[in-house]
């Protein structure tokens, strides 16, 4: 059947990607990968792993409160024209190519503020990228909570924050956590917005938020694969394997648990 062939053509590249990257990535694995810094286009990936972790961590620290707060507004108090406008603009921001956001950050943080390539610029850029996702997923999760729970809480004399933090958010926690995990996966896999904001560094973090470039895993993938030697290629595959492992593990885990809770 032609349709089955189409599905095969769609799914086969995914399996091939996972296969090629796993085989090449695993053969490049060693303890050295996690304990030494990149030197030129060889060495280990410690600086890049740490950089990706830091960028993701600070991006999440900025984006999670903002995204969940915005989601609370949209779901609980935003069923009006202003809410629709925010929802529309949030979708526009989601659809904006990440390179455009990266270039915007370059103009603002690197050129105008003079921060130089830095952790702060990178984390803020990624935060702008994931906030709209978080807001919309939080909104969807909170909307699933039945209205009777809100009414019951208000009838007991609960205030707005009590209703949201003690009743609605706990009831919708799995959805909100799902959203945060998906946002985490996005920020680990992003490259384009970091080119113009994070720069690259062969060293681990020196504790400064500005005036100090940071390395990140996806940079290793796209630059080292263009180097001529096998050692750089091995590093690129190892980095790709790590990134893919995190992204796929989060996405598969989320899908499996969400499915289970839906059926029970």
């Amino acid at each position: 059947m032609a349709c089955g062939l189409a599905l095969l053509l769609v799914v086969f590249p995914l399996l091939d990607i996972v296969w090629v990257i796993t085989v090449n990535g695993l053969s490049a694995f060693s303890v050295k990968l996690f304990t030494t810094n990149t030197t030129g286009a060889s060495g280990g990936l410690r600086n890049a792993i740490e950089g990706t972790a830091l960028i993701t961590l600070f991006a999440m620290l900025i984006a999670v409160p903002m995204g969940i707060g915005a989601g609370i507004h949209l779901s609980e108090y935003g069923k009006n024209k202003t809410g629709s406008a925010i929802r529309f603009l949030s979708d526009v921001l989601t659809g904006t190519p990440s390179i455009v956001l990266g270039y915007f950050s370059y103009i603002i943080f690197i050129i105008s503020f003079g921060w130089g390539f830095s952790l702060a610029a990178a984390a803020i850029t990624i935060a702008i990228l994931i906030v709209p996702y978080l807001a919309r997923i939080t909104e969807l999760a909170l909307e699933q909570v039945p209205n009777t729970m809100r009414e019951a809480a208000y009838a007991l004399g609960a205030t707005d924050p009590t209703v949201v933090f003690k009743v609605i958010l706990p009831a919708a926690s799995s959805g909100v956590i799902t959203g945060a995990l998906l946002a985490l996966a996005i920020s680990v896999g992003e490259t384009a917005p970091l080119i113009y904001t994070a720069g690259w560094s062969n060293y681990t973090w020196d504790g400064r938020f500005t005036h100090s470039p940071v390395g990140y895993l996806t940079y290793v993938i796209w630059t080292f694969i263009d180097q001529p030697d096998a050692q750089s290629h091995a590093l690129a595959y190892a980095a790709a394997f790590l990134v893919m492992l995190v992204v796929l593990a989060i996405n598969i885990g989320v899908r499996l648990t969400v499915r289970r809770t839906k059926f029970v």
């Binding site: 059947m1 032609a2 349709c3 089955g4 062939l5 189409a6 599905l7 053509l9 769609v10 799914v11 590249p13 995914l14 990607i17 090629v20 990257i21 409160p65 707060g69 915005a70 989601g71 507004h73 609980e76 406008a85 925010i86 529309f88 603009l89 949030s90 979708d91 526009v92 921001l93 904006t96 190519p97 390179i99 455009v100 990266g102 270039y103 915007f104 103009i107 603002i108 050129i111 702008i128 709209p132 707005d160 949201v164 680990v188 896999g189 992003e190 490259t191 384009a192 113009y196 996806t218 993938i221 796209w222 694969i225 690129a236 990134v243 893919m244 992204v247 996405n251 598969i252 899908r255």
Partner: protein
Amino acid sequence: MKIRPFRLSVFALSLLIPTALCAVVLFLVIYSGQAIMFNGLHFLTDVNWNLGDMYDDPVTVHGVSVPGGAEYGILVFIVGTLVSSGLAILIAVPLSIGAAIFLSEAVPGKIRPVLSMLVELIAVVPSVVFGLWGIAVLVPFIGHHLSPTGNGYGLLASSIVLALMITPIIASTLLDALLQVPKENRESAFALGATHFEVVSKAMMPMVRATLVGGIVLALGRALGETMAVLMVSGGGINILPTSLFSPISTIASFVAGQLDSAEADPTNMSVRALSEVALVLFLITLAVNASAKLLASGALNVRKRQS
């Protein structure tokens, strides 16, 4: 009206999203102002992107200081973007329609979640990993078997990678819509003696057509803005329009991503401003495409309501 601090504070948080968007647009416009004045409409119609002589004294044109001989034209990148995304859509649409129909019609309900999860997972693979696979597998394949010059980097490789990346968007949109077609419609078509092919093509597809078109336009928006995968397999062609499937190309997004070093080397900052104008053009194109996807999607809802 009573002041409610909690509601006000979450409202303020939600306003940060539109604020961020407005800041992006505003600063891109302000920063590219001088470039817009210098380039005029030639920006969109010129083939050459030439940074000029950055080591000589800058010259002043129309009151704007630029490196001598600099010209900024992005026609090549606009064409590269539209052609590669267009080809990607041409490849992806039949594949996604086939895959979605197979999943909704031929796969038993128990296996369907597994297979549709596989399709959805394609959408979450990072763009740079697609690019790596393109370099490792696709580009050598095209170079050895298809390309007359033996060079696999170019338009075809970009389009195929883009097609793979957007297929899950179209396929899962269509699958959701197909599964929502009321059972009665299917069954009455079967009862009238229609073959399975006729049921799908004449009874089901017309009902989901608007949703399908919305999904395709959404996928187009994603393809237009895709950066890393294209940057890695496109061959980075500049200053020449693509002539064949194997010509090296650049898209607007991949060009911006690849220009960091030259932008930083320009003492007049003009190339940074021109790149900002490029980013602005990309933003406007994707905005237009995504807005039409949104309109189509809302139209699709109306159709479904009317029919049910």
